[in-house]
Amino acid sequence: MNNEEIKQQLSTKFGNAVSMFEEPYGLLTFTCETDSNLKVLNFMHDELGFHFLNDLTAIHYPEQKDKELAVVYLFQNIRTGQRVRMKVFVPISKPDVYTATGVYATANWLEREAYDFFGVNFVGHPNLIRIMNVEEMDYHPLRKEYALEDQSRTDKDDDMFGR
């Protein structure tokens, strides 16, 4: 099955819920409506044979109004080696996405990581708690508003720790 056929199948099945098909560097990429992501995930897994979730992560685009957070899935068909990338955009004020843990066990920790760093709320996740950072942390550090420390600051003592 090539990229064009997968695109056809997805469009016939889901209509307007899937859009923005492109192929950067040969990798079929599309955007899915927030509400239908679980249906598409199941379709990818059961019908199209993408049994393997390669990767799941989030991206923060602060300048996109109401689409600030993107959750990115990368599927792979283990038989043919074909990969497909799916994006789901959510507003940062209400970052709710249905969890993929029911379909792919891989998603469990990857979603916890996306929650930890970006604050994406995966609805239905069995154990959505922070994974890397301490539980007391009250912000999501990989969001763009948390800039890294200014490298030119001079108010810290460098004698012990070279800066």
């Binding site: 979730l53 990767d55 991206i59 950072n133």
Partner: protein, 403 residues
């Protein structure tokens, strides 16, 4: 929210014991914590905790110029840093669309396969140590040292190598480097045979590892296993075959697979992969003879640092040197995912560039972070000592787990 297993109300009737294995425990080889619920010697439940050495590489990478990210990748799977380094270089090369000369690709394969051998040696010999056989460890660690000497000859460092540059290598391989590689290829097979003789059909070792820590192919796939751990279950997924990179398509090699996915099969798959790696290195050494021995990098002056003496004498070299160091080179806007077959699984780099000097977002697909979540399921119902062997057979590297 507390992660610890809470005692139920009126815990007098509690039959099981809570045991903290780790974070620093001699049997875990790294910073791993598992809160185990034990019924006698059997494990009822386990909760792994990760993140003890989290260093926020993905955040740091958002400020660093592309060439400065290589040292970060060193510290992912530090048992085979060169694979991580070259995976990152290839990701950037894919983004900028650079074509590499064949000789550079083969030299990269030589280095990556040496790194894979070193990593597998650590993992397999440590399985031996955890089952009580220290001798094999001593036999092969001498040769891991030899591999590190080869790295040292090529790039100057041993563990965190920072080897190569975007577009090739920082300098050509010396004659001594080739001598050392050839000497290694000559001496190592003997030690490896000895190692295999010690373990492969050893009754005690087999009893200790067969049927321990097994997972079936379907679960492994659902959990996102990759690398030797997936292949031990019988699925022949190898990134070098499925998505060939750096000239692996030109080489003849087989992908060893197991059947049961237990500790013993993982051990055997790794051993066989070492033999395959040796054969690949030999093939590459043969193949580079057809190419100009002076070539060690691609001709992409906008990304590859010029020779230092040229910087002092040539105008263009000075300009490019300045532009690269200051991060002023033209980087295309785009999204790219590139993965390499790391020593413990598929190591992926998801890079989003907005054309700036640093990546907009960089995500590492770390194989052991993904498959470690299956650990509680694998060890449920087994003995504590089996859990220790299972952990070392999964080839978990704390640096990669926590990124």
């Amino acid at each position: 929210m507390k992660q610890n297993i809470q005692l139920p109300e009126g815990s007098v009737g509690k039959q099981t014991t809570t045991l903290n294995l780790g974070p620093t425990h001699p049997a875990t080889h790294g910073v791993f914590q598992n809160i185990l619920e034990m019924d006698g010697e059997r494990i009822v439940d386990a909760i792994p905790t990760v993140g003890f050495i989290h260093r926020a590489f993905e955040k740091i990478a958002e400020r660093r110029a592309y060439y400065q990210i290589t040292p970060l990748t060193d510290r992912l799977n530090y048992c085979s840093s060169p694979i991580n380094n070259m995976g990152w270089h290839m990701t950037v090369e894919k983004l900028i669309g650079a074509e590499l000369p064949k000789r550079v690709e083969y030299l990269r394969i030589i280095i990556m396969e040496l790194a894979r051998i070193a990593d597998h040696l650590v993992c397999n010999s440590v399985i031996g140590v955890d089952t009580g056989a220290f001798t094999g460890f001593v036999y092969v660690f001498e040769f891991r040292e030899k591999i590190y000497e080869i790295f040292e000859e090529i790039c100057g460092s041993r563990l965190t190598t920072n080897i190569g540059r975007i577009g090739g290598f920082e300098r050509n391989f010396t004659e001594i480097a080739f001598q050392k590689i050839n000497q290694f290829l000559k001496d190592f097979p003997k030690a490896m045979k000895e190692f295999e003789n010690l373990f492969n059909r050893n009754r005690i070792f087999m009893d200790r590892t067969m049927g321990v820590g097994g997972i079936d192919a379907e679960r492994a796939l659902n959990y996102g296993f990759t690398g030797p751990n997936l292949r031990a279950t019988g699925i022949d997924y190898d990134v070098r075959v499925a998505h060939p990179y750096s000239g692996y398509q030109d080489l003849e090699f087989t992908v060893p697979i197991g059947t049961t996915g237990d500790v013993y099969d993982r051990f055997l798959v790794r051993n066989e992969e070492i033999w395959q790696s040796l054969s690949m290195i030999r093939q590459c050494l043969e193949k580079i003879k057809d190419h100009d021995p002076a070539i060690f990098h691609a001709d992409i002056p906008a990304f590859y640092l010029p020779e230092k003496q040229d910087v002092y004498t040539k105008m263009e070299a000075l300009i490019y040197h300045f532009k690269i160091i200051m991060g002023e080179t033209e980087i295309p806007v785009g999204e790219v995912y590139h993965s390499v077959e790391g020593a413990n699984g598929e190591l992926g780099f998801y890079l989003i560039s907005d054309g700036g000097r640093a990546p907009y977002r960089l995500h590492f697909r770390r194989p052991c972070f993904i498959y470690y979540q299956a650990y509680p399921e694998i060890i449920k119902g087994s003995m504590l000592s089996d859990a220790v062997v299972t952990m070392s057979s999964l080839n978990l590297i704390a640096g990669e787990l926590d990124a």
